[in-house]
């Protein structure tokens, strides 16, 4: 076990990407994720990698598209308004079955919004990251260690399923320092020779990376195939963690910094004798539907704690088929719910959920 070091989330993430074999980073400055670009700008030239500050977010994601098409582990990072600009590229990555890691260190919106932490890109990440039928695997770290672990895993999942993977972080996770171990283990190599456009060397048929299928039946077939892969991901790659759920009568659902705040609230509520626990999705897509649906048969109410105007809550309601009431405890615009805010919701859930 390597010695733990204190690192900022954004920098730890960048180092983890390098350890995962990423040598191609393309980005564009935006707060609060610029440390990632700055770290890559320093490190990449020293290890023979590419750091390129693109002319726009759009260009950056298309450079990722090019490097990924060549079979390389490539990434970009940005924050909410910049991620919106990358949406076109995300759809093309998905449509061309290209692996890539996209980091969104979320800030408040809509529009130019603010620069403080937010989770208001939940819908964008899990529903509408671009046009067309597709999903990205969406990973939500709640500690600096998870920034590292999920970055490493994100590259692996991207290659394994030939899919863009998004790490959905927020300003808090990016800016905070916590002890991390960078003991990552082996990087698994995937054979990309059947599709990568890295030159035929006149030894094989030419590969084509493409998302255009003019014949509707052909396009439908590709979409069906992709969704079969998605079904496999949903069956095998769901990640979540449980906190104090054994005897819980109220279940908080929260990810990222909201889960960290909620953990404090769970502790305080338990001191008051309220049986509350938390299920923290680590994959936002695929969403941990089964465990929440099972919990719905045991608890009397759920609380969605989020830094958005009720986005995560929809997945909680869908996963539990609205079997139990789901309360919303939220702040937005860069504000973070306090432990007291969550505690107040727990008390409310404890009374309104009483008859169910």
């Amino acid at each position: 076990m390597a010695e733990k070091v204190l690192m900022k989330g954004n920098e730890a993430l960048a180092e983890a990407a390098i350890m995962a074999g990423c040598r191609h980073y393309f980005g564009y400055p935006i707060t609060p994720q610029t440390e990632i670009a700055a770290y890559m700008a320093k490190r990449m030239p020293k290890i023979g990698g590419t750091f390129l500050q693109a002319e726009s977010e759009i260009a950056a994601i298309n450079m990722v598209y090019g490097a990924a098409a060549a079979g390389k582990r490539a990434m970009t990072s940005s924050s909410s308004p910049g991620i919106a600009l990358k949406s076109e590229g995300l759809s093309y990555l998905a449509g061309s079955d290209l692996p890539a890691l996209i980091i969104n260190v979320q800030r408040g919106g809509p529009g130019l919004g603010g620069i403080q932490p937010s989770q208001s890109d939940y819908f964008h990440a899990t529903r509408g990251a671009g046009h067309g039928d597709f999903h990205m695997i969406v990973l939500a770290p709640a500690s600096v260690q998870e920034m590292v672990d999920l970055t490493f895993k994100g590259f692996d999942l991207a290659d394994k399923y030939r899919s863009p993977v998004m790490l959905l972080s927020d300003g808090t996770m990016g800016q905070m320092m916590e002890p991390v171990s960078l003991d990552m283990g082996e990087v698994k190599e995937y054979d990309k020779s059947s599709w990568a456009t890295n030159g035929t060397k006149c030894e094989r048929e030419h590969n084509v990376v493409n998302s255009l299928f003019i014949q509707p039946d052909e396009l439908e077939r590709y979409n069906f195939e992709r969704y079969e892969r998605y079904a496999h991901i949903e069956a095998n790659e769901v990640m979540y963690s449980e906190y104090c759920m054994d005897d819980a009568e109220i279940c908080i659902v929260a990810y990222g910094v909201a889960a960290r705040v909620s953990q404090n609230a769970v502790d305080k509520a338990r001191e008051q004798g309220i049986k509350v626990g938390m299920i923290r999705p680590i994959t936002l897509w695929p969403f941990p539907k089964a465990v929440l649906n099972a919990a719905a048969d045991k608890v009397k109410a759920f609380i969605s704690v989020e830094l958005s105007m009720g986005q995560l809550i929809e997945d909680v309601q869908l996963a539990t088929s609205c079997k139990k009431p789901v309360l919303l405890c939220n702040r937005t615009g860069g504000m973070i719910p306090t432990t007291e805010d969550v505690l107040a919701s727990i008390n409310k859930a404890n009374s309104v959920g009483g008859d169910k």
Partner: protein
Amino acid sequence: MTKSILLAGFGGQGILFSGKFLAYKGLIEGNEVSWLPSYGPEMRGGTCNCSVILSDRQIGSPIVTNPDILIAMNLPSLDKFENAVVPGGQIFVDSTLIERKVNRDDVDVFYIPATRLASENGFQTLANMVMIGHLLSKGDFTRDNIDTAMGKIVSAKRQNLLDSNIAAVELGYNY
């Protein structure tokens, strides 16, 4: 046992650096730790603050809203955070820069002329570490691992800075 610390002052006073020192010292001593800065335009010349949590168990929220310990290095910080400190908590005030007294009587207050002490001893920019030194002596901390923790955040190539930072901590400790 969880200690939450809020360090606050102007940008440029080394608030984030001193928080990092406390976090590293805590890490070396086997604690769970977190460090969270305020960020954005306010960092550039405005107020600056930093949350540090040391705990013997997994840390929940890294955001300190009600600190056990407040280190206030300018008046706006004291005005803003004085009432947030938990009853029975501690407030450390740089009395060179903050002329008023703390209004509360349910907290322990320590006044240290850190900026004057630092400047008199040739550590013009190290009032932050004088404050930290005094925190270590009056709060529930040990005097151990100061050198090691400092070594983690100041590169060995800048030996003079390493020595002066340690000396500033000692100065505050012995005040």
